[in-house]
């Protein structure tokens, strides 16, 4: 297997708290990920500024979904760093060779990835996976919407939305219900509060899923192909909610094949192929005058 490597521009981040840059919400630096022998993310760097909407496009298997799953640590990474609001996601940095790292009260031997060892000798740092509780706390600030909705089928629409505010944030039930109803209204489903997900259309389920993520008042929203599992006539209603969200200034990373949406809403379009960020720029630059051959080929196939 290829040894995880680390490039020089990362060194600035090692060994200290990153400079709190209030304008940068997501800062991914040289992220590498392998699935077994398959190198799915290759030195991926991406910055997302506050209130920015970034649409990630690219052929299937290009690593775009894997990348946004790394942003809230649903996937582990093997090297690099991902910061959200200045906090390193999913890992803790420790001095190398300082005995066994203690995670959750038990010594962790070698099952957790040791990533990003500084090459220039002397000390160096290791990344070890953070405690589950801390990762959970970080995820509270990052909303995610899935391709297959993943609503909780044993709960009504409203219960889906208020579940996390009550049980994760500890919000009083009544307060959560008020917020939940407001969110249902915002996604145009106020009448469906007592309906179970299996009685809703795909588009309605996805709008509930967006409301559920928003109920945690996240600083960042991740959308993983939110319209790919929808019938064509339902795509519009979901995109409408997302456009509204972008206009209100939510920071968003959207993996999507909806080029119309990207053109209209995105501040920046990122083209990924084969685990690499091929090209990024404004929608006009990427769609009208792509500089890379791979972007041209991809766009010619889907437009």
């Amino acid at each position: 297997m290829t040894t995880p490597n680390i490039s020089t521009n990362l060194l600035g981040a090692i060994g200290g708290v990153p400079r709190p840059d209030v304008d940068v919400v997501v800062d991914a630096r040289d992220v590498n990920k392998w699935f077994g022998r398959l190198h799915v993310l290759k030195d991926v760097c991406l910055q997302v500024k506050r209130q920015e909407t970034v649409v990630v496009i690219g052929p299937s298997g290009s690593g775009k979904t894997t990348f946004i799953r790394c942003v809230n640590h649903l996937e582990k990474i093997q090297s690099g760093r991902i910061f959200v609001n200045g906090h390193l996601i999913g890992y803790r940095e420790t001095a190398a060779g300082g005995g066994l790292p203690i995670v959750g009260g038990l010594p962790v031997v070698s099952r957790l990835p040791v990533i990003g060892r500084r090459r220039n000798g002397g000390g160096g740092t290791k990344l070890i996976e953070d405690r589950e509780k801390n990762i959970a706390r970080q995820r509270q600030e990052i909303g995610m919407v899935f391709q297959r909705f993943n609503l909780f089928p044993h709960m009504t629409a409203l219960d889906n939305i208020i579940e996390a505010p009550i049980h994760v944030r500890g919000m009083p039930h009544d307060e959560a219900v008020v917020i939940g109803r407001a969110l249902l209204d915002r996604v145009g489903l106020a009448a469906k509060e007592n309906v179970y997900p299996n009685q809703l259309s795909g588009g309605q389920q996805q709008r509930i899923a967006i409301a559920r993520a928003l109920a945690m008042k996240p600083a960042l929203m991740l959308f993983d192909e939110p319209t790919s599992a929808l019938d064509p006539e339902m795509i519009g209603e979901v995109l409408e909610v997302m456009k509204e969200l972008a206009r209100e200034g939510m920071t968003m990373i959207v993996v999507s094949h909806e080029m119309g949406f990207a053109r209209e809403v995105a501040n920046r379009v990122v083209m990924m192929d084969d685990g690499v960020v091929v090209e990024e720029g404004t929608p006009d630059q990427v769609f009208s005058a792509p500089s890379q051959e791979r972007t041209k080929t991809f766009l010619s196939k889907i437009l």
Binding site: E132, K133, H154, H167, V168
Partner: protein, 290 residues
Amino acid sequence: MLVGCLFLLALVVSGCSSSKAQGFTFKADVFLKALNPTSPGVTGVLYLTILISVVAQLIGVALGVLAALGKMARILPLRIIANTYIWFFRGTPLLVQLVFFYYGFGAAHLWGWDDVTLFGFLIPGVIVAAMAILGVNEGAYMAEIIRAGILAVDPGQTEAAKSLGMTYRQNMTRIVLPQAARVIIPPLGNEFNNMLKTTSLIFVLGVVETYNHYVILQGQNFRPFEAYAACALWFLLMTTIWGFVQGAIERRFARGTATGSSAARGPGLRSRLFGSRPQAETGIDALGGH
């Protein structure tokens, strides 16, 4: 079920007629007296059988959840503990477990099985032992059932829960286990049916429960046929009633599923009593396990 009753009746009748040659007469009065719930001791032993079954099953479910989670844990020692537990209790006869942990541990002064006072009730040590050993044994079997239930829940549910900031425990208790319950409930019902009957084994500890009551009775009246027939009928009644309760619970837990609306109606009384034709069976009927 009706066919079953008829078969039992035929058995009794044929037993009477064919055995007459050897001088056996079925004594209906002895049988009815043995069966009569107002006869001394009968209601008491029935309650005891049900009480021990319920408590043992509850212990079994609790241990089953822990063992299932242990088996799936990322931490190796937890997996080893869970696997060893399941391996031992599924690999040895329950009868041996009962005598070993009660008499064996008692003789070796490893565990005394003292009386326990719970909510103001004094529970004799031997009953505590029976409940505990039956429950621990049951937990090993429940573990596999619960593990299958957990694995049946879409992994996307856990991802959604994680993305909302839920911890492992919150995800399990709020999201995964309630959904796994739907898969677990039908086999759990069958396990409880088994448990009702399996409690008869605790006669080896000297507990007078339903079976032991009739063993003692036939020892007094020398009428084993009538006594054991009454015993069998009582167990049959308990498991039959449980069958109806189980059906009601399964329909309750079917809500929120794609088949929820049809399951809400469920099979009618008629089909439950007489069985339904195969082509009339829907998926949920097959799940209902009647």
